[in-house]
């Protein structure tokens, strides 16, 4: 059964690549056809919606503001894979971008944050995020270079001053929540992120037996794989593994 699933993932991944190539060929730069512009969030309807968190970073840059790195293609590709291999009812016609102080955030129990090295929160943001996580929300942090940890830790310490990060090992249920991931050896997509990836988690009451609140993909950028999976930038098996990581993390966040 495992082999069938892997083969199926490969097939769907390949299809996504082909579809992506075709679509990208139409794109001509900027946002893809599948996603609406940055200001057009989808209304809440109970279906799973990919939610990327925005924050004030002070600069834009060639790739846009840091929170938008890999947007929108990264999530578009992930959603296509997620809804193909599982029966998550998810939106493929768009995703949402929300700020931490936006009450709408609370309608989406799973949120995604990138480039935490540039992340700054207001007091209102801090209160909002704390409430969100304590009530049952789950946050995935990605595109996380090694130098970003102090800033990230500083922001999270405002949310949970006593918070303690635990490194996840391979036997953690997250890595078996959908696909069976046998090793946490997916290399960072580029060297400047760090020598190897570590997956760190914050738990309720700092108790690994209780609910996970945040998972941080430290020293890696899994969404980079998703974004460029159709370009041949990375080997197919690494792209597949990245999708498996993503699907597992999202599945885990939805179910735990």
């Amino acid at each position: 059964m495992k082999l069938s699933r892997a083969k199926r993932s490969l097939l769907v991944g390949a299809m996504a690549v082909l579809a992506g190539v075709g679509l990208l060929a139409q794109r001509g730069g900027g946002a893809g056809h599948f996603f609406t512009g940055l200001n057009s969030n989808l209304p809440y309807d109970g279906k799973f919606t990919f939610v990327r968190m925005s924050y004030a970073a002070g600069f834009g840059g060639r790739q846009g503001p840091p929170w938008s790195h890999d947007y929108p293609v990264g999530e578009a590709h992930l959603m296509r894979i997620l809804t193909s291999v599982s029966n998550v009812r998810g939106h493929l016609d768009g995703s949402n971008v929300l700020a931490f102080d936006d009450p709408e955030m609370f309608k989406y129990p799973l949120i995604y944050l990138v480039e935490p090295g540039y992340w700054r929160m207001s007091e209102k943001d801090v209160t909002s995020l704390r409430s969100y996580l304590l009530k049952g929300g789950f946050m995935i942090v990605d595109d996380f270079p090694s130098w970003a940890w102090p800033t990230f830790d500083e922001q999270m310490s405002r949310v949970f001053p006593q918070g303690k990060w635990e490194d996840l090992t391979i036997d953690h249920p997250m890595w078996h929540s959908f696909f069976e991931i046998n090793a946490l050896t997916l290399p960072p997509p580029y060297p400047s992120l760090g020598p190897e990836a570590h997956y760190r988690a914050l738990f309720e009451d700092n108790d690994p037996k209780k609910r996970m609140l945040v998972v941080a993909n430290y020293q890696t950028d899994i969404s980079e794989y998703w974004e460029f999976s159709e370009t041949g930038y990375k080997p197919v098996d690494e792209n597949n593994e990245a999708y498996k990581f993503g699907v597992n993390q999202f599945m885990f966040g939805l179910t735990h």
Binding site: M1, S4, R5, R8, P43, Y44, D45, G46, F48, V85, S86, N87, V88, R89, P103, E104, M105, F106, K107, P109, S128, R130, S131, Y132, L134, K135, G136, G137, S177, F178, R211, M251, L254, T255, H256
Partner: protein, 769 residues
């Protein structure tokens, strides 16, 4: 006074006229007398016609007076009399049945205890009524309460009987006096019968033997000042930590409008107090009392209202209830068809409750050509549990006590699995809760399936597609939902009412209008959409041995996560813990034990009934089943239980408790093949009954009915002066016919004199005299 006046004018008491037969006893030829009277009458008429001075009205009046005078005289001459069958003195027996129960201690008989009247009137051989009876009859005295017996000496009367079985007492007296000449039975009681059988049989027996009952009612028809805690409706078995809402019925007279507390005590410790505003005199009111169950084991809860000033009966202010509190994690199977937040948040709520164990079978991918449905299993008790997906046998499925069915289409289940879902409720007696979602209810193809029969809402097969956009619903409880245990989101009704108004809306993708509620279902929560239409949000119905609930919304988790819900707000947790507990509340075990009666006194036989089921909840027949009865002292008695044959799996036995206190009963054994059956237990408290103090007012209608249907009479205690005569004139037993002359009644003489005087006066006024 009226009786005295009647006797003065009519020579005899009214009883004689009621019992006697009126006849004319004339010995001469009646024709001759009538002829003479007729001639006289004609002469009178002729005389008056001749009188020229008499005209019209005056003539008529005088004529009438004369004729009336003649008639009265004729009446007297014809020798009117009453024929009475009178019991021959000392030739007849009279049964005297005295109520010796506790209700006779109530002091409402002219300021004294009812029992005092009994002692005064019947308590000694020379007591007022008994002595009078003794002059004319041979009395046989009995006493009764829960049983009747001959009374050797009235000093044995102690008014301590814990039940009043009036019918049994009448039967006993009738049987003992059967074959003897009996003038009647005198029963002296307040009529506060609390037997389980009706009085019809005993009355029929008395009528058949022609034995009249002369009922003497003691006490007031209605107590003047009394508060009564009439009934407490509490479950017999609950899970530890349950938050109960118990119906307590209160009635009163003399304290209308007062506010009194209902105090709930657990083995002497106060666990709740609830004020109740008393209803009008004679009315009953149901109060919902809330309290939480703490300790495990059979617990004696006492519900009481403090005795009020000048209350006539204090003993009916409390009720004891035995609740068996058990401690285990009730297993619920939650089957979810798609990864979504709802199961995560439901588990977050139920995992905090030590009394619940929700095993989640979460489908994460649907079957393909090469692979079956993929599942994630959480909270399973063993690696093998649910390994093959949804159970394929009843034995496996029926291990759970509740099922939560998420957004999973009917097509994901085989036809047999669909039937199993219905049987889970109908046969096993489990609780099933169906949640809303894209693949739920009619939208999930459940219309027309066996499970749709069990659901509390009707599914329209035309609804094949989930609503998009979903309906936004403002949710509020119905009147029933406000006080239902499943929907308590706060510790008090007022707090819950306020909370419901604050909750954010929920969303539904399923069509479930209010009109889809089935006739036997109860709506607990309704939702109003933006067009003002009402939708079912939570409804339930009993189905077979179990119950089903429908919750056709997709995101109750918003009541936890929504931005306006504070972190410390536990509404969502409370709701799901209570909903899940109620889902499995009352779900039967494989072996169930019950006792009848459930309120027992020492020495009273008890019938034990046990329903013994196999793992598929089919009755186990021809098993070797035994009840192990452990008395409060620790002594164990083993009682073999016999299969009743009338019903699959039903076994019965009897035993008689010999000690007061808590009895524990365990039933186990083997089926026909020798396999052990599941053990079932119950607890039972044996104590003197307090039933006598409840509804202790005199039951005049009952006593009247007994008297009238047996051709006897009803007397109030203060009006027994004619009791002995009434028995004498009943016409039963050995009797002689007594002639009572009526011609010499004072009223006859008065009529004659009155008519004569009246005629003379009238004639004078007309100048004729």
């Amino acid at each position: 006074m009226i009786e005295s006046i009647f006797r003065f004018f009519f020579k005899y008491e009214r009883l004689v006229f009621e019992q006697g037969r009126f006849v004319f006893g004339a010995t001469r030829s009646m024709w001759l007398i009538v002829a003479i009277a007729a001639i006289t009458g004609v002469y009178v008429v002729f005389t008056y016609i001749q009188v020229g001075t008499l005209r019209g009205r005056a003539r008529g009046i005088l004529l009438a007076m004369r004729i009336a005078l003649l008639l009265v005289a004729l009446f007297a001459v014809l020798r009117p009399m009453l024929l009475l069958k009178v019991a021959v003195p000392q030739q007849n027996f009279v049964g005297v049945i005295l109520d010796d129960s506790r209700s006779m201690q109530v002091a409402d008989e002219s300021g004294k205890a009812r029992g005092d009247f009994v002692r005064d009137a019947f308590g000694r051989a020379d007591a007022r009524i008994l002595a009078e009876l003794g002059k004319r009859f041979v009395p046989r005295v009995f006493r009764f309460s829960s049983a009747a017996e001959r009374l050797q000496t009235t000093a044995d009367l102690n008014f301590q009987g814990t039940a009043t079985r009036l019918g049994d007492a009448l039967d006993r007296a009738r049987e003992e006096l059967s074959g003897l000449p009996v003038a009647g039975l005198v029963v002296v009681t307040d009529g506060a019968d609390n037997a389980e059988s009706t009085i019809d049989g005993p009355i029929a027996g008395l009528k058949a033997q022609g034995m009249p009952v002369f009922a003497v009612g003691v006490g007031k028809d209605r107590l003047s000042r009394d508060v009564q805690l009439t009934r407490v409706e509490a479950p017999r078995r609950v899970l530890k930590g349950a938050a109960l809402i118990v119906d307590v019925v209160v009635s009163q007279t003399g304290y209308a409008g007062a506010t009194v507390p209902i105090v709930v005590e657990d083995e002497g410790r106060t666990v709740a107090t609830q004020d109740v505003h008393l209803p009008g005199d004679g009315e009953s009111q149901t109060v919902k009392v809330r309290f939480k169950i703490g300790e495990v084991g059979p617990r004696a809860f006492r519900f009481r209202i403090p005795v009020q000033a000048n209350e006539e009966v204090a003993q009916n202010n409390q009720r004891d209830v035995l609740i068996d509190v058990y401690n285990r994690r009730e297993r619920i199977l939650y089957v979810e068809g798609e990864p979504r937040p709802e199961p995560k948040f439901i588990r977050m709520a139920t995992d905090r409750d030590d009394g619940l164990a929700v095993a989640l079978l979460q489908r994460t991918a649907e079957a393909t050509t090469n692979a079956p449905d993929k599942y994630l299993r959480l909270n399973v008790t063993s690696p093998e549990e649910l390994l093959g997906g949804f159970p394929t046998t009843r034995a496996e499925l029926f291990q759970y006590r509740g099922i939560i069915l998420g957004s999973m289409e009917a097509g994901a289940f085989t036809p047999d699995q669909q039937r199993m879902l219905e049987d889970f409720v109908d046969v096993r007696g489990g609780g099933l809760l169906a949640l809303g979602g894209d693949r739920a209810f009619a939208e999930g193809g459940w219309a027309g399936t066996p499970l749709s029969n069990a659901l509390p809402i009707a599914l329209d097969p035309a609804n094949k597609t989930a609503l998009q956009p979903p309906l936004e619903l403002i949710v509020k409880p119905t009147r029933t939902g406000q006080s239902h245990p499943a929907t308590q989101i706060a510790d008090s009704e007022d707090a819950a009412t306020a909370k419901w108004k604050e909750l954010p809306p929920l969303y539904s993708v399923n069509v479930a209008p209010a009109a889809s509620l089935k006739p036997g279902a109860t709506l607990l929560l309704s939702g109003t959409d933006q067009r003002g239409r009402d939708q079912v949000v939570l409804a339930f119905q009993r189905y077979g041995r179990g119950k089903t609930l429908a919750l056709p919304v997709q995101d109750t988790w918003l009541w936890r996560m929504h931005s306006k819900m504070p972190v410390e707000d536990m509404t969502h947790h409370n709701l799901w813990q209570r909903l899940a507990r109620w889902l499995v509340d009352g779900v039967p075990e494989r072996t169930m034990v019950s006792a009848a009666p459930d309120r027992v006194q020492k020495g009273e036989p008890v019938t034990l009934t046990s329903d013994v089921m196999d793992p598929e909840y089919r009755g186990v027949n021809e098993g070797r089943i035994a009840a192990h009865v452990t008395a409060p002292s620790g002594k164990v008695e083993d009682v073999v239980m016999e299969w009743t044959v009338e019903q699959d799996g039903e076994y019965r036995a009897r035993f008689t408790p010999t000690e007061d206190g808590l009895y524990r009963i365990a039933v186990d054994g083997q089926d026909k093949a020798g396999a052990a059956v599941e053990r079932g237990t119950m607890a039972m408290r044996v104590a003197p009954s307090d039933a006598e103090y409840f509804d202790a007012a005199m039951r005049t209608p009952l006593l009247r009915r007994i008297a009238e249907e047996t051709e006897g009479r009803f007397f109030r205690a203060a009006e027994t002066s004619s009791l002995v005569d009434a028995i004498s004139y009943s016409g039963k037993g050995v009797t002689v016919t007594d002639e009572r002359e009526l011609w010499d009644m004072p009223i006859v003489l008065l009529c004659l004199m009155g008519l004569m005087a009246g005629e003379w006066l009238f004639r004078r006024t007309k100048g004729l005299a």
